[in-house]
Every structure is written in structure tokens, then in C-alpha cells.
């Protein structure tokens, strides 16, 4: 359809709850996924908490949208990155993060987990090669 495919990066820097940024970002990613662009989602700083398992929002009366990140693969967002240094600074490892599966419906290629931990240099490269960076 569109001959100009741009590389979009959604950059998430904030903790999931307490502000509206994380939810707004996730909604934009899911809505934008309809437009056949080359999309990647990056989690750095407190943004890494958006992918941590076992969130419970009952005490703060907010909708728990943490399970929704696991639909990113269904929405054909295939490139999801987490900054290693941000994880380590918070005492977290990949074990603490949700797994997001991806299945290519046509080729039936299945990937159990598309969440990729990358070092700072790769984060910079990925930002550099993006045409547009949306920072939340």
C-alpha cells in the first residue's frame, strides 16, 4: 500500500503506573500497528518496569494493562528491545520480564519470545537507524 515505509521507534522511559505515559505509548503502538510501518519498541530507564512480570494494580485502582504487552506479537510488532544497563541498574534480569510470543501466520514461523536484551551501543545504533523516535 504505502511505498514509503518509515522506521518508527517507540522509546519508553517511565514506570508503567503512576503516570499515563506507558499506557498512552502502548495504545499508540497498537493503533499504529495497523499502518504497515517498520516498528520497534525500546524500553530503557524505568521503562523496563513496563515489562516486569506479576504486576498487581488493585491497590492503586488503575487498570492493569501489563498483560496487554503480550499481545504485541499478535499485532505484528516483532522488534522489542530492552536496555541491559537499565535492567542491571534495577537488579532485574530477563527472568523478571514477560515473554512475548510471535507467530508468522503465513510461514507458521514461531518464536517463543521476541523480547531482546541489548547493550547500550546497540540501543544507540537502533535509535540512529530510526526515521522517527517517539519518546514516552
Amino acid at each position: 500500500m504505502s511505498e514509503t515505509v518509515k522506521k518508527f521507534m517507540y522509546l519508553n522511559r517511565k514506570a508503567p503506573y503512576g503516570t499515563i505515559y506507558a499506557w498512552e505509548s502502548l495504545e499508540v503502538v497498537l493503533i499504529g500497528a495497523a499502518f504497515d510501518q517498520d516498528v520497534c519498541v525500546m524500553f530503557v530507564d524505568d521503562g523496563v518496569y513496563q515489562l516486569t512480570k506479576g504486576q498487581d494494580t488493585k491497590g492503586i485502582g488503575m487498570k492493569n494493562f501489563s498483560p496487554t504487552y503480550r499481545t504485541l506479537g499478535d499485532y505484528e510488532v516483532k522488534r522489542i528491545f530492552v536496555d541491559r544497563a537499565s535492567l542491571e541498574a534495577r537488579g532485574l534480569t530477563q527472568e523478571d520480564l514477560v515473554e512475548i510470543a510471535y507467530e508468522d501466520f503465513e510461514t507458521e514461523e514461531e518464536i517463543d519470545n521476541i523480547v531482546e536484551i541489548v547493550d547500550s551501543q546497540r540501543v544507540s545504533e537502533l535509535m540512529d537507524e530510526s526515521d522517527v523516535v517517539f519518546s514516552f
Binding site: I31, A34, P67, Y75
Partner: protein, 112 residues
């Protein structure tokens, strides 16, 4: 402005597009009444999709966009059901939008 629909003598609030205002209010009768308004008779095949959507929402906290629904139905129920032709034959006003409404879910995220 917001309206209500009547199901078994009880009033249920709906938003301006006819989606149930409160997800937790849902009872199967809601789907029957909404279907009647759209001149549809719900069959087991309709209910498979409605129940599937409710399970999807329960697990992911989101009403899926139509192509995501199509894909997910195909995965769970087979490719002969996971295609838009089949789903549109059940839900002529759009399988995600109409079926989500019957299922008491919000309007799907990413349906344009």
C-alpha cells in the same frame, strides 16, 4: 448521550456507540438483546467468537483489532474459521466491532 438497553427487565448503561459501559455488568442476555437490535439471530458459531473474545480480554485486558482477532481465531479454531469471510458472514457490521459489542467489551484497540 449515553443510553441504556433492557435485558430481562434490567437496565444496562451503554456508551454513545452502543458498547456496554461497564464490562462487569455483562450477562449472556446482553448479547441476545444487542443482536436482536442488529437483526441477527445468535447461533453457536456466534457464541464461539463471543466467548473467545471474552477469554481474550480476560487474558490480555484488550479487545483485539479485527486482523488480530482473525489470526487468533485461526490459531485456536482452525483456518476455515480464521478468515475475514467467515467472520464477516457471522458479524456483518465488522467481526471485531460488532462481536466485541455483543461480548460487552470496549471498542477494539487498533480498529481503524
Amino acid at each position: 448521550m449515553a443510553d441504556t438497553i433492557e435485558v430481562d427487565g434490567k437496565q444496562f448503561a451503554v456508551d454513545e456507540e452502543g458498547y456496554l459501559a461497564n464490562l462487569n455488568d455483562w450477562v449472556p442476555g446482553v448479547a441476545d438483546v444487542m443482536a436482536k437490535q442488529d437483526n441477527l439471530e445468535l447461533t453457536d458459531e456466534h457464541w464461539d467468537i463471543i466467548n473467545f473474545l471474552r477469554e481474550y480480554y480476560e487474558e490480555y485486558q484488550i479487545a483485539p483489532a479485527v486482523r488480530v482477532l482473525t489470526k487468533a481465531v485461526g490459531k485456536k479454531m482452525g483456518k476455515e474459521k480464521g478468515n475475514s469471510k467467515y467472520l464477516y458472514s457471522l458479524f456483518p457490521y465488522g467481526p471485531a466491532k460488532q462481536a466485541c459489542r455483543f461480548a460487552g467489551l470496549p471498542k477494539p484497540t487498533g480498529c481503524v
